[in-house]
């Protein structure tokens, strides 16, 4: 019974939307053609068939080093009765590739004659045009070199020049006009400002256009006022083939794209049952396609990939090469709303000969979920989700080879892992490290399930005071594995620089004016936090913010830095990275657990080599601050 000012967008189911959009696209003519120099045509798309204008070779030539002769003169030659031909008259010395001299019609190989100046002796006859390279042996004049709609490769350039073709008709590069909108959107050069959003969408989309063979024309951000957007569209329209208006396509009060486009042209679709990407707008304005691309970066990426790309490829007369797909087992259950096609970003790892897919956050605003993803799992609108362990097709964003070469690290977050990732790449360019931060306990469970190659862990056993090993014995009793020390590190309270609220220790967490930010359950830091509270006799309900969880040290540091929390527990490196003050609480051991099933993999061994004996890596860790690397690489435990 409560009124709402929100206007919900009515959506078209994704498959139907795709059908209608493709129907519109397929009615559009191909982009015009232009003639370019063959030497400048790499990657362009032919708009006409290319035929050879001359043969290659263009002239008759010797196929061997030897002597040009008339075959008639060699008839009857034998080992016993060689034919004797006078040089310069009946025989002419030729090298491979030399034109066959006028009046001669065969070549004898140099190995098959004896030279007795001014004669050569020939021991067996040759046939007409024997050892002669005929005209057109490689390419014959008028032969088809390339069909229409072919993307020109280096070897095609060679073949065209060889076939006497110097200029080639290709499809013009489609020009895409990009109009970022929103009063809060600013140029990257203006830097981050309070209340402003730097426009990175249009540069990401522009780069996608470049990869697809387009040229893009980007306008400065336009404020979300109808007359300004209308002006911007009408201004750019005559100079482009496609318009993409970024953000403002939804149904909120600041979403002006729909009304402007309705006035200027015809809306084909507004709102599609897809996630992310729902508020997309597909339209035509003055016979040119216009796409209203949602402003959330992940939505923008998905809409470009699934809706803009087919349009561009149609204009170029190209079929879209299907992306590589592999089948992977979902490492955890995923629920998905009925009636929406979901494009779930996942990381994929090859563990125990099985590809395992793990979702990486689902917020449409988190571009890093795409940047870090290995692929996309499409969950159809009729599905409510995917069960754990179910095998699903993954549309890859990286190559299968790269995924196979990646070391999967699931477990506790530590800033050294970024450093380790970089050293692995630097030392062994084919390998990479992919980290998922689910806490120390989560890492051990991932090993148990066979989902990770290594796990970082720092779990303090209260009873024994020992790190990690008691938990491993409990959780992974039957699993052969090795544990290597990475380092010891300082944990402590992170507070704003200058410690404005005067926090001195754990007792302050009870204060009314202090908001705490916690780590997630199952993380080693959470265990440490709970131990500290218990030791001080403080209950969780006494701490404001105890229930707010972050998944990484940097997440906690970031909340403190931005003032949404006054204090959190984390490592010195994270505090330093964001310029926070730090009150030490504990020194803890951080180990890397490697199950036997991963120990002999080349990529894991490469990683362990760096941990065990790379002095440069050790120094780099020490420079981060708060780390004791004296036992780095030591085998701590084995079972």
């Amino acid at each position: 019974m409560r009124p709402s000012r929100r206007i919900y967008l009515k959506t078209t189911p994704f498959p139907e939307a795709l059908r209608r959009w493709n129907a519109y696209i397929s009615g559009l003519p191909r982009i015009q053609e232009e003639e370019v120099e063959v030497t400048e045509s790499l990657g362009r798309i032919t708009s006409r068939p290319v035929v050879a204008l001359s043969s290659n070779p263009f002239y008759t030539s010797s196929a061997m080093d030897g002597y040009a002769v008339r075959f008639e003169d060699t008839i009857g030659a034998t080992e016993v009765n060689p034919k004797r031909l006078r040089l310069g008259k009946e025989a002419v010395e030729v090298n491979t590739g030399d034109p066959l001299p006028e009046g001669y019609n065969a070549v004898v190989m140099v190995e098959d004659v004896t030279r007795e100046d001014p004669f050569i002796l020939i021991y067996s006859p040759v046939g007409p045009y024997q050892n002669v390279r005929a005209v057109g042996e490689d390419i014959v004049e008028s032969e088809l070199i390339l069909p229409e709609s072919h993307r020109i490769r280096p070897v095609d350039i060679g073949a065209m020049i060889g076939g006497g073709v110097r200029r080639v008709w290709v499809r013009r590069r489609p020009v895409v006009g990009l109009i970022p909108t929103g009063g809060e959107v600013v140029e990257p050069s203006e830097g981050p400002q309070m209340g402003k959003i730097v426009d990175f969408n249009s540069y990401m989309l522009g780069a996608m256009m470049t990869e697809w063979g387009c040229v893009y024309k980007r306008r400065r951000p336009v404020e979300d006022l109808p007359h300004l957007l209308e002006e911007a569209i009408l201004d750019i329209l005559p100079t482009v083939d496609v318009v993409a208006v970024i953000a403002g396509s939804s149904a909120g009060k600041r979403d002006v794209t729909p009304e402007v486009v309705e006035r200027l042209g015809e809306v084909i679709l507004h709102g599609i049952g897809m996630r992310p990407g729902k508020p997309v707008l597909l339209a035509r304005v003055k016979d040119k396609p216009l796409i209203g691309v949602p402003g959330y970066p992940v939505s923008a990426f998905i809409v470009a990939e699934y809706l803009l790309k087919p349009l561009i490829f149609h204009l170029l007369g190209l079929d879209i090469e299907e992306p590589e797909v592999l089948h992977a087992k979902m490492s955890r259950p995923v629920s998905s709303p009925l009636g929406q096609m979901e494009f779930l970003r996942v990381k994929v790892g090859l563990v125990k000969d099985t590809f395992v897919a793990t979702p990486v956050g689902r917020g449409a605003g988190a571009l890093m979920t795409v940047q870090r993803a290995d692929g996309i799992v499409e969950i159809p609108e009729a599905s409510e989700g995917i069960g754990q362990g179910v095998t699903v097709p993954v549309r890859l964003l990286r190559s299968k080879r790269e995924i196979e070469d990646t070391v999967v690290c699931i477990g506790s977050h530590d800033n050294c892992l970024d450093l380790l990732a970089n050293f692995l790449r630097k030392r062994y360019p084919r390998y990479s490290l992919s980290s998922a931060h689910v806490g120390s306990m989560g890492g051990l469970i991932a090993i148990k399930r066979g989902e990770t190659h290594i796990a970082g862990t720092h779990l303090l056993d209260e009873e024994t005071g020992e790190y990690n090993v008691p938990f491993i014995k409990r959780l992974l009793a039957d699993l052969p594995l090795k544990v290597f020390n990475l380092h010891y590190r300082l944990q402590g309270f992170m507070v704003k620089r200058g410690n404005p609220k005067g926090i001195k220790g754990v007792e302050d967490l009870k204060r009314n004016d202090i908001i705490f930010i916690n780590r997630q359950r199952g993380s080693g830091t959470r265990l440490l936090t709970d131990k500290i509270l218990r030791d001080a006799g403080i209950s969780a309900t006494e701490v404001r913010g105890y229930d707010r969880e972050e998944y990484t040290h940097m997440g906690v540091a970031s909340q403190v830095a931005s003032g949404t929390a006054d204090v959190g527990i984390g490592i010195l490196t994270a505090a330093r990275a964001l310029g926070l003050d730090f009150i030490p609480v504990a020194k803890e051991r951080y180990d890397i657990v490697v199950p036997e099933y991963a120990l002999n993999q080349d990529n894991v061994m490469a990683l362990l080599d760096i941990i065990k004996g790379d002095d440069e890596f050790k120094r780099a860790v020490e420079e981060l601050g708060g780390y004791d690397t004296s036992e780095m690489g030591r085998l701590v435990y084995e079972q």
Copy 2:
């Protein structure tokens, strides 16, 4: 006992050569770095890790449309006893993405309040920072965005700008100096000239460099004289990172590269047991790598792909992404010399659910064998060849998808097939037609063996006077198939324009001054030739050149056009294409045979659609001349 002037090159076995070359490469430093604008960095390789300089979002913002409040003011709110907050004082209207106003610490969603100006009513409490988007939710300051040695993608550009990064350190593009050599080599702009070879190698190599992320610097062709080459190398060396000297690397008298390089630097390897590519020269001059690339275009391609590419990728700090490999059955036996690694070019087709590989010519001079190839089969030096039916790995030059979509056509050559290939591509960009010309009989045998989707055939049965069907009944008795007419066409004598030797008919083939050029056994035209000769009572031994075989009409026409033959039998189109005179001999039926196993494939159906009912295609065939298309697409026979 006969002397030879040929100097044979001593070669190093390919695996050892590769080891030595890689040992040299891996000692070279990476290319220097340079800083570029992130917006210009697409495809570049990072030379340092990239970390976020600011968080994204950079400020605390509302995650919902609603009202910013202080969570303390909402404590105790219930459906029955809502809290009443004054707008502008205790509550501020916010949109998604708006900065959270100073002094507020939570957001209530618009759906969860009732507005009664100047108040809002709240029915349940919110927690601290509920519905608030935290700083760094996407990217946290100091977080690793990209490791070193990473090729920058569009999404990386978005993430970097989002993370406040505006300039990025990348590896400089390696500069490769290309020096084409040879007195006979001319610029493409000089056009084909007698005795001259147009330089297409350096443009093909240059385009390969471009694809690999290099810049290339090409010199005009240098004459093969030691002092000129030395001058050219010393001139280009200071401005490049790698030198490639094209041609002249062998051991012949005009091969000056080895002596010049020995004088200027150090030869690492000269001559490798590979085919093609044997005379390659690998060297270092003033601490820069120099490759002597053999001048035959296929050799140049293979040497670039297998030896130059690893060097470039090392300089860039990149691992070479393994090319796609598929396993295919060899359609015919291939012998290969012991002691040489052979890189065999093959066409691959997916027929009856099996990939079938067929070699496409082995001449190092025939660039079209690479241009037309789908992949390369590597035959190791210890192997003497590959038996028919053996399954081998094929390193793909086109994608697997493209190969799967290709219609395989093996059989008789006809100029309409080029046209058909182009129409198929034009109408259905994802499909292509790949033709191998082995003659009519070869086509029927290929169907029998399950190696082709369709076969073009024009076999005249002398007894019945009927075309094709008698042969099909004989050869393919048990195989369900359909036969469609493509056209009727004119065959005749092709002679030089103006008919300089006054050829009037078959009787002239007996003349001493007439050289004939024949078609290969098993071709329909060869059958026709033999019938014509038999009808005239002429025996093969009476015809000079009867044993010289060409595989296509264009091949025969080309021999006549260039004067290496006086007459051949072929179709009017081929004569016209090369400006020859034509004396008609027969009108014959040319059919397309489609076995049932291929009939229901989408790509084959698409092709048949064009034959059956595409008026534009029909007109285009008629315009070629010499074709009767009145029955095009008619079902001629079925079994």
